[in-house]
């Protein structure tokens, strides 16, 4: 029987090692106070495996690039955009599908969804992009989605990359409408990555569209950086290790799920459900579930959560499952609680809470309440400093410093152009913190 157990453990370990996604479930507080009702965090960590060798086992890509060719894109911008598009095409292989949509007054499909066995037609079409006219962004994205649909398969990474430098003004143009579109795309399993160029685009629209579809979002101030950002995005796409991720967290009675920090989740009583379109290679996706626990007696143990993660695995071409769970035990000693704290979870929680505060502060700044914005951020700063000392975690001190910087940005009065730029930067940064993936930071 012992041999069997070792055998099973070994198999499980091997399975874990070769799994596209590794699941770790932890409690932020493995030890809690007895008898009391307290709040703690269940931390899930989804780790994407090393991406497969290029061109061998990686998932084939089904990509639509949607380019803004409105009048404002004229000159350097459109040239850089073309360069970025060419970069993308050069990274695709014969098993990948590429399509190109350009939009100004209307949306035109320059390259209908085609396998990149011969890329010359794609390059030629990229040359035909010309800047003039208004911004039919909705139509552009719709066409992009329609092209992706032609080769839409579960075993492909299906993606739309949208580049825009201005305000959508033809067709549905509000962030809410584009978010609806993003959600629909997400339901189809197509992520829309949005790249905002310059200081004239609507960052709410672009970030909400990406958020709703689980794509990436970047703010590119200077068009010189476009090619690099596109390259990073495509690098991410090529590194996708799992798709259609569904996370189910079941909490036993006595544990009440409150909220998931900085993520969209469906909480139904004891059950929490999250969905993601993809996990990238080497990505660390941390999910923090805040729960309310009614303490048992000292020495007793309690399961906090049972987690099941479902995902499409391109290697096995099957839907795989990862399971995990975590439990806590109870003590009467507050010191023990403090000592046993699981720092990585705390750090993640700190980041998440900072992001939540940052978003709230930005809302206040939008309304003109700079003081309030500063106050919200500084509360986080203080709390982090306290925690840093409390748990002897220098990482939290680092987080606190970063939060302080952000507090200054959010509370400082500035001319409108400065505010505009910092808003775009903030939105992009907040987005990356939520999505746990960056296409702007150089690796």
């Amino acid at each position: 029987m012992f041999r069997n157990t070792i055998f099973l453990v070994a198999v499980a370990a091997i399975a874990q090692l070769s799994a596209a996604v590794t699941l770790q479930v932890n409690s932020a507080n493995p030890v809690l106070l007895e008898k009391r009702t307290q709040t703690t965090l269940v931390q899930l960590n989804l780790v994407g495996a090393e991406p497969a060798d290029q061109g061998k086992q990686r998932m084939p890509v089904n990509l639509a690039v949607v380019v803004d060719e409105s009048g404002s894109m004229g000159g350097d911008r459109i040239e850089r955009a073309k360069e970025a598009a060419r970069t993308v095409v050069s990274m695709l292989g014969p098993q990948d599908v590429f399509s190109l949509v350009a939009y100004s007054d209307e949306a035109i499909t320059l390259v209908p969804a085609t396998k990149m066995t011969d890329r010359s037609a794609a390059y030629a079409a990229i040359e035909r992009i010309e800047a003039a006219g208004s911004t039919a962004l909705f139509a552009g994205v719709s066409k992009g989605l329609s092209e992706v649909r032609k080769f839409h398969e579960r075993n492909r990474v299906n993606r739309v990359v949208l580049l825009s430098d201005g305000m959508a003004n033809v067709g549905p143009s509000s962030p809410g409408e584009l978010a609806s579109l993003g959600r629909a795309a997400g339901r189809e399993g197509i992520s829309v990555t949005t790249i905002g160029l310059g200081l004239g685009y609507n960052e709410d629209l672009m970030s909400q569209l990406a958020m709703a579809s689980d794509g990436n979002h970047a703010f590119v101030e200077n068009s010189v950086d476009l090619a690099r950002v596109f390259e990073q995005e495509l690098g991410g796409v090529l590194s996708v290790v799992a798709q259609r991720i569904q996370i189910n967290i079941q909490c036993p009675s006595g544990v009440r799920p409150l909220r998931v920090l900085d993520q969209n989740a469906d909480i139904r009583g004891q059950n929490v459900q999250l969905n993601y379109n993809q996990i990238y290679g080497r990505q660390n996706k941390s999910v923090l579930l805040e729960v309310e626990v009614t303490g048992k007696r000292e020495g007793e143990q309690m399961e906090l959560a049972q987690v099941q993660v479902l995902y499409d695995d391109p290697a096995s071409k099957r839907r795989e499952t990862q399971q995990g769970k975590t439990a806590v035990r109870f003590t009467a000693s507050e010191a023990t609680v403090r000592r046993e704290v699981y720092k990585p979870a705390l750090v993640e929680a700190a980041k998440a809470k900072t992001n939540i505060a940052s978003k709230k502060a930005l809302e206040l700044r939008d309304k003109g309440d700079l003081v309030g914005a500063g106050a919200v951020m500084r509360a986080t700063v203080d709390s982090l400093q306290v925690q840093a000392v409390q748990y002897d975690a220098p990482e939290l001190a680092e987080e606190s410093k970063a939060a302080e910087q952000e507090a200054q940005t959010l509370s400082a009065p500035a001319p409108a152009s400065e505010m505009n730029k910092s808003r775009k930067e903030l939105k992009a940064r907040q987005y990356e913190r939520s999505s746990k993936f960056s296409i702007q930071k150089s690796k």
Binding site: D105, E106, A107, T109, A139, K143, A184, R187, R268, N271
Partner: protein, 529 residues
């Protein structure tokens, strides 16, 4: 010299039909224009119709997809997952046959999404609110809730609908706008459905629409508020453009409109340009044809004129050429007469002289004729004693007449001088005498009588020949006319003598007429004083 009448006639021949045709064509074109405009309008409306039907077909296809998805669902618990997988579906629901909502089940724990769904779809389950079914062209009148008994307990309007149909759409208003549900009836009598995101629906429709319009126009899709949803086709719509065709879409997009724009003279560009060019071509072909015929006529008619002129010119030329040698003959004959004493010789010389004079007269006649044709006739009026003129001519004719056994008798007098051209006078008298000599030799006598009154002078030449029929009294004066009977045959003559004589008489203010006579011809030259 081109004949003015001819030119006028030909011009009329060409222009009149063209004018008439042009007028007709213009009229018919105007009518045709109106007809074409209506036709084109109908075509545009049809094209717009087709585009709208295309949209309808896309939506029906999507409905079919949702239908299949709903068919696969066995129990309410599967619905949450089903909604997540359905691209157009924001939420799903299950209403059992006793009007209980089994999903989302409000007795269980609900996520926030599910809760807000229940709130905004309240009116669907109560049945107390009026369902907005207006505008859908395919929905028959019996579908309206008011025709059904409302307020039956627990009866949702949806269930009532489900009794009549298999599936359908329901739009309703809530806060921010129009929402949409697609439902189908399960065999158990339950009603399953999805709440459909209209934005996503629009995106699917856009994906299925073309990008170009072969008519170089532009299709514009607008929602119930008139906001632009989508456009395609390429034509740039200017703010003051009105749609060439427009229609409302059917359920579930009722309230949306599809309009077609194009250049305002698109219809003209498309149709009448070809029409007009066809018309123009027909027109110009006809015009060219008529012109060709007219030119041909012209050439033909001027040919005879040309030929006639050529002949006259030739004769004229010849006569001119003859004049000079003739003058020489006469001159030398005259000179010779002085040198010759012998009577026999002198007589022969006389004949030479009188014949050459006759030739001279003939040539003069011809030249006069041709000059008249060319309007170059000029007369030198002088104070003339007619008696002398008559005598001179008679003397010239004496010898030739004697040969024929005739003689000319001069009677009467004209003491008063008359204003006449001497050459012309001589020509007139000579022509009359020449005729008498030719045709009235049998009468033996030709009488030239002069009469003069205070108001006129008359010169009469009468003979005792066969005479001229009274009915031909005008015709004999026509050029080239010679009475065709045994008399004229064999007699040399040009037929222009009388014509010349009369012309000259007229030119000098007088008249030359044939007078009635019992026997023989009687010509009267009357010269007013």
């Amino acid at each position: 010299m081109p004949n003015k009448r001819l030119v006028l006639l030909l011009a009329l021949m060409v222009l009149a039909p063209l004018g008439v045709l042009g007028w007709f064509a213009h009229h018919s074109l105007a009518g045709r224009n109106a007809e074409l405009r209506t036709q084109f309008q109908a075509l545009l409306q049809e094209r717009n119709d087709q585009a709208a039907q295309g949209i309808d077909a896309t939506v029906q296809g999507l409905a079919l997809g949702m239908n299949s998805a709903l068919n696969r669902i066995q129990n309410p618990t599967e619905l949450a997952t089903a909604a997540q997988r359905e691209p157009l579906a924001v939420m799903a629901f299950w209403l059992d046959s006793s009007a209980h909502l089994l999903y989302p089940d409000s007795t269980l724990n609900l996520s926030r999404t599910e809760q807000s769904f229940l709130v905004r779809t309240r009116s669907l389950w109560n049945g107390s609110a009026r369902l907005d079914l207006s505008g859908g062209a395919e929905v028959p009148a019996t579908q309206t809730p008011s025709s059904r008994s409302p307020n039956t307990e627990n009866e949702g309007g949806l269930l009532a609908l489900a009794r009549q149909d298999e599936q359908g759409w329901i739009p309703w208003f809530w806060e921010d706008g129009l929402h949409l549900v697609y439902w189908k009836r399960a065999p158990s009598g339950a009603v399953l459905g999805f709440e459909v995101d209209r934005t996503a629906l629009l995106a699917w429709i856009i994906g299925a629409l073309p990008e170009k319009d072969p008519g170089h126009g532009c299709f514009v899709l607008r929602d119930e508020n008139g906001s632009l949803l989508h456009r395609y086709g390429g034509y740039r719509v200017s703010p003051d453009d009105t749609p060439l065709a427009q229609q409302k879409l059917a359920m579930p997009l009722q309230g949306w409109t599809l309009a077609y724009y194009g250049p305002s003279d698109a219809w003209e560009t498309a149709f009448t340009r070809s029409e007009r060019s066809a018309q123009l071509m027909r027109y110009s072909i006809l015009g060219l044809l008529l012109l060709g015929i007219a030119l041909w006529f012209w050439r033909e008619s001027t040919r005879s004129l040309r030929e006639a002129r050529e002949r006259v010119d030739f004769v004229n030329q010849v006569s001119h050429e003859l004049k000079t040698p003739l003058t020489n003959i006469r001159l030398y004959a005259e000179l010779l007469e002085d040198d010759i004493e012998d009577e026999h010789q002198r007589q022969k010389l006389q004949i030479i002289r009188s014949e050459s004079e006759r030739l001279s007269r003939m040539i003069l006649n011809i030249l006069t004729f041709s000059r008249r044709e060319k309007r170059k006739l000029q007369l030198n009026r002088q104070s003339l004693y007619l008696e002398e003129s008559v005598q001179a001519v008679v003397t010239h004719f004496a010898l030739s007449m004697e040969k024929r056994g005739m003689r000319a008798i001069v009677m009467g007098q004209a003491e008063r001088p008359v204003s006449l051209d001497p050459d012309a006078t001589g020509q007139i008298i000579a022509n009359l005498l020449s005729n008498a000599e030719k045709y009235a030799a049998a009468g033996k006598e030709v009488i030239v009588e002069l009469r003069q009154t205070p108001s006129f002078t008359e010169l009469e030449v009468r003979d005792h020949g066969p005479g001229i029929p009274w009915k031909l009294r005008e015709q004999v004066f026509q050029p080239f006319y010679r009475i065709s009977d045994h008399l004229t045959e064999g007699v040399a003559g040009t037929g222009i003598g009388l014509d010349i004589a009369r012309t000259l008489a007229h030119l000098m203010g007088g008249t030359l007429e044939l007078a009635p006579s019992d026997s023989g011809a009687r010509f009267v030259w009357r010269i007013p004083a």
